[in-house]
């Protein structure tokens, strides 16, 4: 095998959200353009499509609006995934529409993100939409938030409006912000490429790095790596051939923390204990499996482990419970009804579940909490859930990978809600 440099390329996942006119497409287009990520045939196709639409500039939103309906209506309906790479790392942008009726798409896009990029039009300042975008970044505990104050060219590249926006945003954020989240502000002009990939020479009052420099340097997945060890079992591997006659391996992806050969582990929910015998990564035996690595683990004892169980380090067990308090976002057009049973999927485990009460619905823009009898699409609420099986969840704040879940409708099979354990 080719010797691979230990320092493999890292992937940084970025969430962007915004509406048609705040310059988001131009920003993404600019990032792609300045990193040489758009091929000439794609540019040509967009150019032609722009002409057909009767516009005389190259409409970069056509890069991301991949569906016929989106191009016809000039709106982004769904999350688009955009890929680019610089000499430093690989980036995946999940770009979602920004209006209130797309809250569910924004949460979907943001659920994979290491960083949230929030765009503010320097002329309009902080809008209701800005509050909503930040609330989602907060709800998902995205470790890094970058607020790009765009269209600085239209403000004469002046410092005062930028600082005013920074102050207003900080005031709103401080009501909910967790200590572990970092917020940075960058004055930019997407149209003229100021502070996008290179530092602007028009805003000497700003000493910070450009957007791309920030994105190239930040840490990916800091939280899960530092959390306690969790290993949801996906699949049991039993080859039953001559070489591996009695082999019984548990395949999964370390969702947080790390596991070493010899570690004492507890199997949840059964609470039985054993030790890690071997860790396989394909045909190689390794000493330690880190966060996000897909491995096969064997145990020293012949204990009962099936899909849906979770291996955790002994002494670091979460307490399996049948009553969960959670924030949920309703994703489905059909409203939530309290009398209905849903399937709760957490890690690889499934359990029947009921929403027993809605404590309040939260307005993400005003942070106002109001009582509600039911939950409609795009609403975010604090609820209480009862499950049939005990769920060994952590709080989302402590360990996002083991503190989130989805609800599935048993009849339509649709994913109807996402939840964050509090």
């Amino acid at each position: 095998m080719v010797t691979v440099n230990k320092k493999t390329v890292e992937v940084l996942r970025i969430a962007t959200a915004g509406s048609v006119d705040d310059g988001k497409s131009t920003l993404i287009g600019r990032l792609l353009y300045e990193t040489n990520s758009i091929t000439t045939d794609k540019l040509e196709a967009i150019h032609k499509a722009s002409q057909r639409k009767g516009i005389d500039f190259i409409d970069l939103s056509l890069l991301t609006d991949g569906l016929i309906a989106e191009r016809e209506q000039g709106i982004t309906i769904d999350v688009a995934h955009i890929y680019f790479q610089t000499p430093k790392r690989k980036f995946i942008i999940a770009d979602s529409p920004g209006h209130v009726e797309y809250t569910r798409n924004m949460i979907t896009g943001a659920s994979h993100a290491d960083v949230s990029v929030i765009l503010v039009d320097a002329r309009h300042g902080i809008l209701e939409q800005t509050h909503r975008h930040y609330y989602i970044a907060h709800l998902l505990r995205i470790p890094q938030v970058i607020v790009c104050v765009n269209k600085m060219d239209l403000m004469g590249y002046e410092e005062t409006p930028f600082r005013a926006i920074q102050e207003k945003f900080t005031t709103f954020a401080s009501q909910i912000k967790s200590d572990r989240q970092q917020i940075q502000f960058i004055p930019i002009s997407s149209l003229y490429g100021q502070n996008i990939t290179t530092r602007s020479d028009k805003m000497s009052w700003f000493n910070g790095p450009s957007l791309l420099e920030v994105l190239e340097q930040m840490e990916a997945h800091p939280k899960e790596s530092h959390a306690q060890g969790r290993f949801p079992v996906q699949y049991i591997i039993r080859p039953r051939n001559d070489e591996f006659h009695d082999f019984r391996g548990y395949a999964g992806r370390v969702s947080s923390g790390s596991f070493k050969v010899g570690d004492a582990v507890t199997i949840l929910p059964s609470q039985r204990t054993s030790r890690i015998d071997k860790i396989y990564q394909f045909d190689q035996k390794i000493d330690q499996a880190n966060t996000r690595q897909s491995v096969v683990i064997t145990l020293t004892d012949d204990v009962d482990v099936s899909r849906g169980d979770m291996l955790v380090k002994t002494g670091e067990e979460p307490v399996p419970v049948k009553e969960i308090n959670a924030d949920v976002c309703w994703l489905n057009a059909e409203a939530m009804t309290g009398s209905k049973t849903y399937l709760l999927q957490s890690g690889t485990s499934l359990s029947k579940a009921k929403i027993t009460s809605i404590k309040y619905v939260k307005n993400p823009a005003t942070l106002e909490q109001t009582p509600a009898p039911a939950l409609n699409m795009n609403e975010i609420a604090r609820v209480q859930i009862k499950t049939a099986k005990p769920i060994p969840a952590d709080t989302y704040d402590e360990n996002p990978s083991n503190g989130s879940f989805i609800l599935v409708d048993e009849y339509s099979n649709n994913t109807v809600a996402v939840g964050f354990v509090v």
Binding site: M1, T39, G66, L67, D78, Q234, R238, F282, T348
Partner: protein, 301 residues
């Protein structure tokens, strides 16, 4: 060119293995859609890794249009022999003979769109509830909107505006009888990622990916490989050129690329500096702006 640009992000391999194991756990009878191209070769490797030391728990399903590059078929048979994975073949010719589809005519005739019918017939006959494919979101704008577990109705149709949200790593593969799911483990890989992976893993690939001499005609600015399967215009002159293929589809819809790249290293250099996109040589995509979306809606993968 940075060394990191020629290194594969291992996080993507872990993600793909996770997805393959979810497919094995959530479905009764999945299959790997195998075209003999670099993406499906990558999927086979990932499946070997995901289930080691067990066997790959899925058969390969090849939809054979009859218009393949002979090198691809030769490679397919070699791969099946060396990996011990089962192979099932669905022949487009059978659907033509049975009158279920009609062959296209004229200068741009291709069997590309016909294969959807054969794929859906095989899914029904073999009772596959999931088909694992090597499609990637960076290939094409409609594919950029595709889910990792993409639910298709009884007619194989993709409802782009009504897809299940996919949050965090949760994959929801619950379906009703008759429906099936297309599974895309390398959704988040780019063309460059695939090539870097092939290089680091030292995977064998069909010879047509490397430079070779071939008879071509220049038509509409692209190099068409000469074969029994394409329309021949007596006005067009056949030239012998040094070419390779960047993607591998049918001989009737895959254009060649003038290239001297004779190794994985030189292919990767060529891709890093390319000004044309990967599917720029796919004549099946050039039919209309939304050609891919329309094919997906009708059941293509």
């Amino acid at each position: 060119m940075s060394a990191l640009q020629k290194s594969f992000p291992r996080d993507l391999e872990d993600e793909a293995i996770y997805i393959l194991r979810e497919a094995a756990a959530q479905f009764e009878r999945p299959a790997i859609l195998f075209s003999g191209g670099k993406d499906s070769i990558t999927i086979v490797r990932l499946a070997q890794k995901a289930f080691y030391p067990g066997k790959v728990p899925f058969p390969l399903l090849h939809i054979d249009t009859g218009h393949n590059f002979p090198e691809t078929i030769e490679f397919r048979d070699w791969l099946v022999k060396t990996t011990g994975v089962d192979l099932l073949v669905g022949y487009v010719q059978d659907d033509i003979d049975a009158g279920r589809v009609t062959e296209e005519k004229g200068k741009y005739a291709s069997r590309n769109t016909l294969q959807t019918v054969t794929l859906l017939r095989m899914i029904e006959e073999q009772k596959f509830d999931a088909c694992i494919g090597g499609a990637r979101r960076d290939e094409e704008k409609a594919r950029a909107k595709e889910r990792i577990f993409s639910v298709r109705d009884e007619f194989g149709q993709w409802d782009a505006k009504n897809q299940r949200p996919e949050l965090f790593d949760f994959l929801n593969g619950r379906i009703k009888p008759g429906e099936n799911v297309r599974v895309f483990p390398i959704s988040n890989w780019t063309e460059l990622d695939v090539w870097n992976y092939i290089r680091e893993e030292e995977l064998a690939i069909p010879s047509i990916y490397f430079t070779h001499e071939r008879d071509v005609v220049v038509r509409d600015g692209v190099l068409w490989p000469i074969s029994d399967f394409i329309y021949r215009d007596p006005e067009e002159t056949v030239e012998r050129r040094k070419v390779r293929f960047r993607t591998v589809g049918d001989m009737s819809c895959t254009a060649a690329l003038a290239s001297e790249a004779n190794s994985l290293d030189t292919i990767i250099d060529e891709i890093i500096s390319a000004t044309l996109s990967e599917r720029g040589t796919r004549l099946d995509d050039k039919r209309a702006e939304a050609a891919m979306e329309l094919r997906k809606v009708s059941g293509y993968f």
